[in-house]
Each structure stands twice: as structure tokens, then as C-alpha cells.
């Protein structure tokens, strides 16, 4: 059997293996994890002919520089990503949502994401990795998942499973959509907060702070004033929850969030807007819009349908 092997020459930022994540472990403190942007994750796997739950490399802002050490690979990159290839010594500018075939000594340089955060690198056949608690998804904070629960680092080697169809040539015409507002539902402690603060939350802009990662997004804007209690009894959290600690700066819980928290929940981001929320880079501003549950459910169905349509075009 032929060996397909890659070497990481530069690790990029927060590069990890991700799949759809792992459920049913909140009670011992493990969140779902999984690809932050599910839509782009699914598209990347479909483009290279994989099943929907194969592990891919997720990166933030800058991706890895990868060299094909042995064999050959077929890959695709999804997101809004700038990257170059070195094929037979020739430099090629890469396009997202398209397949490429590379052989020994070729390189992929994932330079940066454009006005977004996360991108995905998928290979035909998938990576040779070990699952942990039923999933490849890396949860760095608990060292759980593929690659011993660690980020991908420089000089590491990874093997790629042999893939049957060597002539996959798929592509997708797609531009990542941006939305004007991130839509939210009232949180379980909505009435803890000053009316003026609620108005500000849904009318003013909030800056995404540099202290944002897969665990949470910290926001800066008008201070949210709490009238009741700044601490609640610790209880479960889900991704998308907007907590407000005593200092009045909201934090949105993301895919690697702590499973339990003690700050009041002012609101929750709707599921339909999550993929777009996490793509807002630090230094950019967010606006929120309060909607009702029924509308959120409808918007989710629409978003899912759109994703299905995109996948069917591949």
C-alpha cells in the first residue's frame, strides 16, 4: 500500500483536527467542540468525496504550511482563504471550493483568511487519526481528541488514508454570506438587566476583542448594567449563550465553552446565525437583533436547507 504523508512546516494559528464534535458528555465537562463553521466543514469534506464526519484541519486567521512528504494527496480548502500551491516547483494561486492534486515535495501555503476567522483543509480519504470519546474533534483545554488533544504543531507528520478515486474534480461556486445583524433570543436572566442596557445591546455596536477563541468571544461596547445579581448559581451553558459578568462586558460562549457557568445569561444567539457569528474577526463590530423563538426555528430550517442545497451542488 502506498503511503501518503504530509509534514507541517508552519503550524498556523489554532490549527486543530475537527469533525462534527461529540455529544452526551456535558455532564462530565466536555462540550460538543467540532468545526466552528459547520457549513464550511461539510462543504470541504464533500468536495474531496469524504463522508460527512471525516476529520479536517481547522485554522484561524492563518493556516499551516504543508509539504507532501510521500505519496500524493487530493485536497480542498473552504472558507474565505488566501493560499498558494507549489506544484512541481511552480507557484500557483489557490482557489477555495476546488480540488487540487499534489505529489511528493509539493507544498500548500495557507496564507490567511480574508475578513473572516476560520478556514478548513480537507483531504480525500481523510487523515489517519485516533478518535477520543467517539470523535476526532480536538478540545485543547482538556487534551481530548485527535493528536492527543493538542493543536497541530511545526514538524509534525500526518498520514492520509489511501483514497480510491484519484480523479476527483469537484468545485462549488460559493461566497460566504455576511449578515447585518446577529439574531438573538432572550436569555434565562434577561430581566436581570437595566432596560437601557437591553436597548443598547440591541441597537449599539459591540467590538470583538482580541481575547476571543474557540471557547468564547469577548465583546466590548456599552457596559451592560445588572440590576439584580451579577453571579448566579453555576448551571449548564450551551454554545451561543451571551453571559454578562460583573464588569458588564458580554462574553458569547462558543463551541469549546466551559459546560457550566455562573454569570447571568442575557441572551442566546440563534442556531441559524452561529456559523456567521464565529467568522467575525477580532477588531470588527457586531450588531444584535432580538427575535422570537418561532422565527429562530424557521430561520434555522432555512439555513439548513441552504446548506443542503450547496452540498447537493457538489
Amino acid at each position: 500500500m502506498k503511503i501518503n504523508k504530509i509534514t507541517v512546516l508552519r503550524e498556523g494559528v489554532n490549527s486543530t483536527f475537527q469533525d462534527l464534535g461529540r455529544g452526551n458528555l456535558y455532564h462530565i465537562g466536555l462540550p460538543f467542540s467540532g468545526a466552528m463553521d459547520k457549513r464550511n466543514y461539510l462543504i470541504a469534506n464533500k468536495l474531496v468525496g469524504n463522508k460527512h464526519n471525516e476529520a479536517v484541519i481547522e485554522f484561524a486567521y492563518q493556516g499551516p504550511l504543508i509539504k507532501i512528504e510521500d505519496g500524493n494527496i487530493n485536497f480542498a480548502i473552504s472558507g474565505d482563504v488566501k493560499f498558494n500551491l507549489k506544484k512541481n516547483g511552480k507557484l500557483i494561486t489557490g482557489d477555495c471550493y476546488k480540488n487540487y492534486n499534489l505529489s511528493k515535495n509539493d507544498e500548500i501555503d495557507i496564507i490567511s483568511t480574508n475578513n473572516s476567522v476560520y478556514g478548513y483543509f480537507a483531504v480525500s480519504g481523510g487523515f489517519e487519526l485516533k478518535k477520543n470519546f467517539g470523535s476526532f474533534s480536538t478540545h485543547v483545554r482538556s487534551n481530548v481528541g485527535a493528536n492527543d488533544g493538542h493543536k497541530i504543531s511545526k514538524n509534525e507528520n500526518f498520514f492520509i488514508k489511501d483514497f480510491e478515486n484519484k480523479n476527483i474534480n469537484k468545485n462549488l461556486k460559493y461566497t460566504n454570506s455576511k449578515i447585518e445583524y446577529i439574531r438573538i433570543l432572550k436569555g434565562t436572566n434577561f430581566d436581570f438587566f437595566l432596560e437601557k442596557s437591553i436597548k443598547e445591546l440591541t441597537s449599539k455596536e459591540f467590538l470583538v476583542s482580541k481575547l476571543s477563541d474557540r471557547m468564547g468571544m469577548r465583546l466590548q461596547g456599552p457596559k451592560i448594567k445588572n440590576l439584580k445579581e451579577t453571579n448566579i448559581r453555576s448551571e449548564g451553558i450551551i454554545k451561543g449563550v451571551i453571559q454578562v459578568p460583573a464588569d458588564g462586558n458580554p462574553i458569547i460562549m462558543l463551541s469549546d465553552h466551559g459546560t457550566i457557568g455562573g454569570y447571568p445569561k442575557i441572551a442566546v444567539v440563534i442556531s441559524a446565525d452561529y456559523d456567521r457569528l464565529i467568522q467575525i474577526p477580532s477588531g470588527k463590530k457586531i450588531k444584535f437583533k432580538l427575535i422570537e423563538l418561532k422565527e429562530a426555528e424557521k430561520l434555522y430550517k432555512l439555513y439548513q436547507m441552504e446548506t443542503e442545497n450547496l452540498l447537493n451542488q457538489i
Binding site: 434565562t188 448551571e235 460583573a246 457550566i260 445569561k265 423563538l293
Partner: protein, 227 residues
């Protein structure tokens, strides 16, 4: 037994068992958690039991809030007592100044010396209400009334692995480096969460009893499993 069910976002149920934080209320939450887990209800993707709340996450492609709320409301659970767990887990803890990051804050806000705080802390057996926040972190209670204090106003971006902290009536152990807002009074060298043991990854489970005992710096580095 559930007082109220509301929605947390569009894909989770927020089951409220009231505001009391005691073992009796906590047992009810655990009963529901175990019962629902056993039933394998279609669409449920995760369950988070805590002191007096149970959050049920679901897949919005399969079920919605109204449908799942009805199913959970129909569950009938008897009020039988759960047998008390007799297992006692002993946790070595070092409170050298290097590890006791918030001892000065505690000391000045509580108006107690370091020695007085630690005496009260070590002299009590604790009950594990829940695990979570980070993998395997045990929420233990109840600590002596005289050493209770609120969380830090701005949470730390990084609390070191092994840190032992207190807030309100509770104590916990940071099983991994993590952001957090508890008042840190020491550190344990014992590994609490083992990801390689998929069947029993956590050393301390809800219902267990925990006793902390003090060790010095030399003993700490001799045991250190958190390297």
C-alpha cells in the same frame, strides 16, 4: 418535580428545579438526568445537570422546543431517596504562597488570617454536586460559612491546572488550565481527569465525598501528576 421548563436559545430546554442549593434538590436533578439518559429520547444530544437546573440540548433538525417540552413534562419520577455514596476521595493540596493566588484578597475581604482560612477549609468533608465547566471539575460543598466570598469581578484569563478555589458555599479544582473567576487558595498535584480512560475519565463523580488535606511544597512536587 420540575418547577418550570423554558427555552435556552432555540435548541435547549432549561428545566428549573427551584433556587435551593442542597443535596435533596440536587438528587432530583440527578434522577431526571439518569432517567432521561436511559430513555434515549430521539433528538436529545446532551444533558447538563447542575445544583438545581437541568439543561437538555437537542437537535433542531429532529425535534423542537414545544415537542420536547411535552415529552419531558410527561416523565414521572418517584420521590424515593437515592442511596448516599460512601466513597471518600482524599485530595492533597499545597497552599504555599506560590499557589494561593487569592489568599490576600480572601484574607482582607473575610477579615481572617491565612491560617484561619485554611483551618476552616481543611477541616470539613465535602459533597460533589456536579462536574463540569472544564472536564472533570468537581463542584463541592459546602464550605464553612466564614470563608464564603463572591467570584472575582473580572475572571482570570488563565487559572493554572490543579488550582483549588472557593466561591460562595463551594470549592472546586481546576482540572485543566482555564479561564475562571474563583478565589484560588492552593493547588493539588493529583490528576483528576484522565482522557485516556474513556469509561471512567473523572476521579470525582456527583454524589462522592471529598476531603482535602494539606501538603508542603516538597510533597507537592514529589506527587505532581499535572506536569
Amino acid at each position: 418535580m420540575i418547577k418550570n421548563i423554558s427555552n435556552l436559545g432555540d435548541s435547549a430546554l432549561y428545566c428549573d428545579f427551584g433556587n435551593d442549593v442542597d443535596q435533596k434538590t440536587n438528587f432530583k436533578v440527578i434522577k431526571y438526568f439518569e432517567n432521561i439518559k436511559k430513555q434515549n429520547i430521539e433528538g436529545i444530544t446532551n444533558l447538563t445537570p447542575s445544583y438545581n437546573k437541568l439543561i437538555i440540548s437537542f437537535d433542531l433538525n429532529i425535534v423542537n422546543f414545544t415537542e420536547l417540552k411535552k415529552k419531558i413534562e410527561d416523565i414521572k419520577i418517584s420521590e424515593n431517596n437515592i442511596k448516599e455514596n460512601q466513597k471518600i476521595i482524599k485530595i492533597p493540596t499545597c497552599c504555599d504562597d506560590e499557589f494561593a493566588l487569592d489568599i490576600e484578597r480572601l484574607s482582607s475581604k473575610l477579615n481572617l488570617t491565612k491560617k484561619e482560612i485554611l483551618e476552616k477549609y481543611f477541616n470539613k468533608e465535602y459533597f460533589c454536586y456536579m462536574t463540569g465547566f472544564i472536564a472533570g471539575m468537581p463542584f463541592l460543598g459546602d464550605i464553612d460559612k466564614k470563608i464564603r466570598l463572591e467570584r472575582l469581578e473580572t475572571p482570570r484569563v488563565k487559572v493554572p491546572k490543579g488550582a483549588v478555589g472557593i466561591t460562595e458555599q463551594f470549592a472546586n479544582i481546576y482540572t485543566f488550565e482555564s479561564p475562571g473567576g474563583w478565589n484560588i487558595l492552593g493547588s493539588t498535584p493529583t490528576k483528576i481527569f484522565n482522557q485516556a480512560n474513556e469509561k471512567h475519565p473523572t476521579l470525582i463523580c456527583p454524589g462522592d465525598k471529598v476531603l482535602f488535606y494539606e501538603i508542603n511544597k516538597k510533597e507537592y512536587f514529589k506527587i505532581n501528576e499535572n506536569k
